[in-house]
Amino acid sequence: MAAAIEAEDLVKTFGDVHALDGVSLEVPEGTVLGLLGPNGAGKTTMVRVLTTLLRPDSGRAVVAGVDVLKHPNQVRGLIGLSGQYAAVDEYLTGRENLQMVGELYQMSPRDSRARAVELLEWFNLSDAANRTAKTYSGGMRRRLDLAAALVVRPPVMFLDEPTTGLDPRNRMALWEVIETLVGEGTTLLLTTQYLEEADRLAHDIAVVDHGKVIARGSADELKAEIGGERVEIVVEDPAHLAQAVEALAPYAKGEPAVERHTRGITVPVSGGASVLADVIRELDARTIVIQDIGLRRPTLDDVFLSLTGHATFGDESEGEGDSDEVGEAGDAAATVGAAVEGKDS
């Protein structure tokens, strides 16, 4: 399959910061590549280079068969960009915004108008078409921004953290739209901090940190790379943590992660449900009281942690990141039982 996006050894330095430190990647036509990484990893810089907004210091990039550095204006006619800030004019109506973008894509005013109506309908914004974007909710603005990126039905799209700051309902809705687009053949490069998002939308994931691609593969491949399932336990008495780690040691296929404040231990294992039974017996024999125990598949969080030695969220986004991780951990715990049952049958 031909590559719709091709980057070769892109380098971009801002002062002493290596925003891109030799990044190469390839996105086959009709597929989705998720660029996954913490804030400041170089994801946005990558998007800016590929969408002609930023010239790299060195390297080569080809989008939709056109050299980005040699023919930037031709590339601009073939791509759609939607960023993490909804870039719409808040004093124009939804319709006016889309019509303007259409005309600036060099469509005739008539075609632009027709396309605007079509997109507003598709994004469920028809009722708000003649209201200024200032009156839109965050989710509506994001939809309008995405619609603007779709005006010329571009074969290649770039979405820079499309759902950052959206509530779960709007995030889901946007995911559905993105899935439809991809179903219709659009090639997509997506940056995200949300592991769940990359997991759901991307065929292929490139994990980026400090301007470098540190891992590449499908979500399943990446998870397989760092080992099988994890056993998670929560002990009742924090004093038992050390003992519990000792009890788990014979089954561990890697370093256990201990979180003192949640009294939790996570340890990679192999062997599925039978390991879980063994672990329970072992803990029981040492009279360690456990509050919770479960077996789960590794998440991309685990991937990130084991690849970089730090969690996905850097210092800058701690507040947001933390609350999110709590949510995910909760979900994971809730599904543990089901997962184990599934394995048994």
């Binding site: 969408t51 002609t52 907004l53 930023l54 010239r55 204006n73 031709q74 601009r76 006619g77 791509i79 960009l81 960023g83 800030y85 909804a86 870039a87 719409v88 004019d89 808040e90 004093y91 124009l92 006016e96 303007m100 973008v101 005309e103 600036l104 894509y105 060099q106 469509m107 005739s108 079509e118 997109l119 309908e121 598709w122 994004f123 469920n124 200024t132 939809r143 603007a148 779709l150 010329v152 039905r153 074969p155 809705a173 946007l174 559905e176 739209v177 439809t180 687009l181 219709e184 053949g185 659009t186």
Partner: protein
């Protein structure tokens, strides 16, 4: 989201028409200008207050300061100063387009709109041309209102309508040239607030160290050449000549070269400023980081 209604489809290949050159640049600029003019109708406060400010200046200078400012050699009555003053106020008003352009472009940068525009296959100059054109339209409207107010309080032209229109034309040309300075400021600062003050702070010395409000001959000797060669002074002087508002004899007339040839000097300055700052601005826009 009604992803089910895909009969029209969000996807499908539609290659936009490839254009290029001056025709596309003009068309794109017009699309952006239309957008900015539309914005003005949505935020009329900006336009209204933009007009009120120079009207205040006219009234304050005429009725508050006018009585105290006597022009050496000129017949000393308030009417003389009023006739003299108007060209200066008009000129100062058009240069305030700088603040509009700088704040507007800084806001577009801030909101990510410049990124969107830069990712579109449009002329690289269009965002800035569209903005400055919209500011020009606003300046022209403001001048109309200001002209009417000035007429009501007794300002008159003495050399015919055509020449007077020529005078207004030169002032608008100056304002347009200055709005390109505003464009560069807007692209260079980090926030719209900073853009507004950065756009205005240098305008005060520039407009006051000139012949706009008092005759240059009343300034200290070392300051006079600065004031005479100030591009702003040339436009004020040119407008005064074309309005027939030069000080009546026996007041001494400025005999310095840029004042004698004010019309041509004013056109020259404006074109020079426009050329230099449009070149710098478009260059900056190409690599703008929002």
């Amino acid at each position: 989201m009604s992803a089910t209604t895909t009969t029209t489809g969000a996807i499908g290949r539609a290659t936009p028409v490839q254009r290029g050159g001056a025709v596309q640049a003009l068309r794109d600029s017009w699309v952006v200008a239309k957008r900015n003019l539309r914005r003005m109708t949505r935020i009329p406060e900006i336009v209204v207050f933009g007009m009120l400010q120079p009207v205040m200046f006219v009234l304050l200078f005429t009725y508050v300061m006018g009585g105290a400012i006597t022009i050496p050699g000129a017949p000393s009555n308030a009417d003389t100063y009023k006739q003299y003053l108007m060209a200066g106020i008009f000129a100062q008003t058009v240069t305030f387009a700088v603040a509009g352009a700088s704040a507007g472009i800084a806001e577009d940068m801030n909101k990510g709109l410049v990124d969107r525009f830069r990712s579109l296959p449009m002329a690289r100059s269009a965002v800035l041309v569209g903005r400055t054109i919209a500011d020009l339209v606003q300046s022209a409207l403001t001048l109309v209102v200001l002209g009417v107010v000035a007429f009501i309080i007794g300002w008159r032209i003495h050399d015919g309508v055509l020449k007077a229109l020529g005078g207004f034309g030169l002032l608008l040309l100056l304002g347009y040239a200055f709005s390109w300075i505003g464009a560069l400021i807007g692209l260079s600062v980090r926030s719209p607030e900073a853009a507004t003050s950065a756009g205005l702070v240098w305008l005060f010395p520039l407009t006051f160290v000139s012949n706009a409000f008092v005759p240059v001959s009343s300034m200290p000797g070392w300051l006079q050449p600065v004031a005479y060669w100030n591009p702003f002074s040339a436009s004020v002087q040119a407008a005064r000549q074309l309005f027939g508002n030069l000080l009546p004899p026996p007041a001494p007339q400025a005999t310095v070269w840029p004042m004698v040839h004010a019309v041509w000097v004013s056109i020259g300055w404006s074109l020079l400023i426009m050329a230099l700052f449009s070149w710098l601005s478009v260059r900056k826009y190409r690599s703008a980081v929002g």
